[in-house]
Amino acid sequence: MATATFPQAARLSRRASLLRRALSGDSLAQLIVFLAATAILALTALLVWELWSHSGPSRAKFGWDFLRTSTWDPVAGEFGALPFIYGTVVTSLVALLIAIPFGVGAAIFLAELAPPKLSDAMTFLIELLAAVPSVIFGLIGIFVLVPMLTKIVPGLKDALGFLPVFAGPFYGVSLLSAGVVLSVMVAPFIISVSREVLLAVPRDLREAALALGATRWESTWDIVVPFARRGIMGSVFLALARALGETMAVTMVVGNTPKIAASLLAPGYSIAAVIANEFAEATSDIHISTLIELGLVLFGVTIVLNAAARLLILATGGKVSQ
């Protein structure tokens, strides 16, 4: 090349191309996007640090007992997180117990049985349900669901009242009501993701089963669904993560009572709900600190579940669309 014989020219042209690159903004562009990505790291680190440091007084004072004791007494300064952990877990479990059969059932219908256009249209509508703001579910919860349950529950108690889960008086707001509202909110996630993983199951499996004389249902339930099992589990974990963090809909129908009761008909409380109710008015530093520690606990659990969800879904080849 000519530049080899003219070292000066070579140097000039190298500098020129460097300059051209800088002026064309390539290094600058790379720097900017790198900073954006790193900013996310910094922001998240800041968030975790804020949570950790502001919950310090609470962690120092109560230690692990915080998670085991159930007295929540702001006046006396005694704070135990157990009623909230209990309520959060119970309402989410109730939500899943309802949403899983419905969700997986609907996903089976949409993936296996419905004609493609109908399936797409219905899935589209169900995914819209996921977009409904939670405060609206709360509204419908107090004004529609609770009165409805107040009519249904006496019948339920007649039939199953001997079970401890249905014992005791029912005032409308309860762990059960919150669980039902949550189930409607998380079902779309289960349906959407499960449908994706079921669609991803290879055709041959179904066809082989049918060729061997299985009914449609048998081929689906005994062959296809087990194959997609991990992905479906993943969708359940995603739904669970959403249910755990849900605030508005829960606080409007759960009863806001920090007590642990065996009955689902009793009022309860959840971590997100107590933070929403008490944060702005917590008049002592230790009170605020315990609320932030609760937030940290919730955060930790949600992370673990989200991670598990993604791994499981990826393991069956489904796509985690969100």
């Binding site: 064309s24 390539d26 562009a29 790379q30 996007v33 790198f34 954006a36 990505a37 900013a39 996310i40 922001l43 998240t44 800041l46 968030l47 804020e50 949570l51 502001h54 419905f102 969700g103 059932g105 609907a106 219908f109 949409l110 049985l113 493609p116 399936s119 219905m122 169900i126 995914e127 819209l128 349900l129 977009a131 409904v132 703001p133 405060v135 609206i136 709360g138 509204l139 419908i140 004004f143 779309p188 669609l199 991803a200 009914t215 249902w217 048998e218 339930w221 993560a241 605030t247 508005m248 409007m252 944060f279 702005a280 609320l291 937030g295 955060f299 949600t302 989200n306 796509k319 969100q322």
Partner: protein, 284 residues
């Protein structure tokens, strides 16, 4: 397997279970229509001109509207979008085009972490870094929602940029374009439909969030000038009015709920039709 065909029991189970799954699906879809219909019946008729133009009136007086909440929500969302979208978008470009695998997986992991934070906790975060220093404000609310928008902006940007065929990039670079030029003029435009619809879905999602606004934007019975004052927002008004004992407020809560839901659904439908454009059973 008998030569005579399937037993009655197996056929019955088959029909029943398939029918049941169909019922479940119809139920799920039905709930959406129920919610929409119920909100409309309760609140649709309260959507008069006053609702969109007047300020709230004191407790006990009839009339008034939520004009300040509509503007407040718009401002908070505008701020949230200006924070969340650029950061997420640029970081998404970084992940899709520039970064090495190790750092990329770190960023993705941390972003997933951020995405998993319950919205109420984001509210606490915004309270401690903004409200304690600058007071309750549109700014604080915008920051809270903006932080919530980042993870989805990043993931959807990365996903849609990666779906652009490598050949397009190579073609541009073969013609002498620099990497940044290629991205700006070739890759992003190719992915633009996905990117825009992703942003719209993101926006619709945070538009309905109430919890993070509880202790950031607080609320305001008047107009909220600028960005450093507390402001009313649609979701927090719904929450406040729904809990009140005044029938007039309930009526307005339903109307606001219907408005919010209608807007959210409209944005969702528009966004999805931009991406899918009539495809069926294609992997998304």
């Amino acid at each position: 397997m008998t030569a005579g065909g399937l037993s009655f029991r197996r056929k019955a189970v088959n029909a029943f279970m398939l029918g049941l799954t169909g019922v479940f699906t119809v139920l799920a879809v039905g709930i959406l229509f129920f919610v929409l219909g119920y909100l409309f019946v309760q609140g649709g008729f309260s959507l008069n001109w006053d609702f969109f133009t007047k300020l709230p009136v004191p407790v006990g007086e009839a009339g008034g509207g939520m004009a300040n909440a509509l503007l407040g929500s718009a401002k908070v969302l505008l701020l949230a979008t200006s924070i969340g979208v650029p950061i997420g978008f640029l970081a998404g470009i970084y992940l899709a085009e520039y970064s090495g695998a190790a750092y990329a997986s770190v960023i993705r992991f941390v972003t997933d972490l951020l995405n998993g934070v319950p919205s109420i906790v984001i509210g606490i975060f915004a309270y401690s870094i903004i409200v304690l220093k600058f007071g309750f404000s549109t700014l604080a609310g915008g920051v809270a929602l903006g932080v919530m928008m980042i993870p989805i902006a990043l993931r959807s940007t990365e996903e849609f940029l990666k779906s652009v065929p490598v050949s397009l990039r190579e073609g541009a670079m073969a013609l002498g374009a620099t990497k940044s030029r290629t991205i700006a003029t070739v890759v992003v435009p190719a992915a633009i439909r996905g990117l825009i619809s992703g942003m719209m879905l993101n926006l619709a999602r945070v538009a309905g969030e109430t919890a993070p606004l509880l202790f950031t934007a607080l609320g305001n019975q008047f107009w909220s000038p600028g960005w450093r004052q507390p402001t009313a927002t649609l979701p927090s008004m719904i929450y406040e009015y729904a809990k009140a004992p005044y029938e007039d407020w309930h009526r307005q809560a339903w109307a606001a709920g219907f408005t919010l839901l209608a807007l959210v659904l409209l944005v969702n439908i528009t966004a999805r039709s931009i991406i899918s454009g009539g495809l069926s059973h294609k992997p998304r």
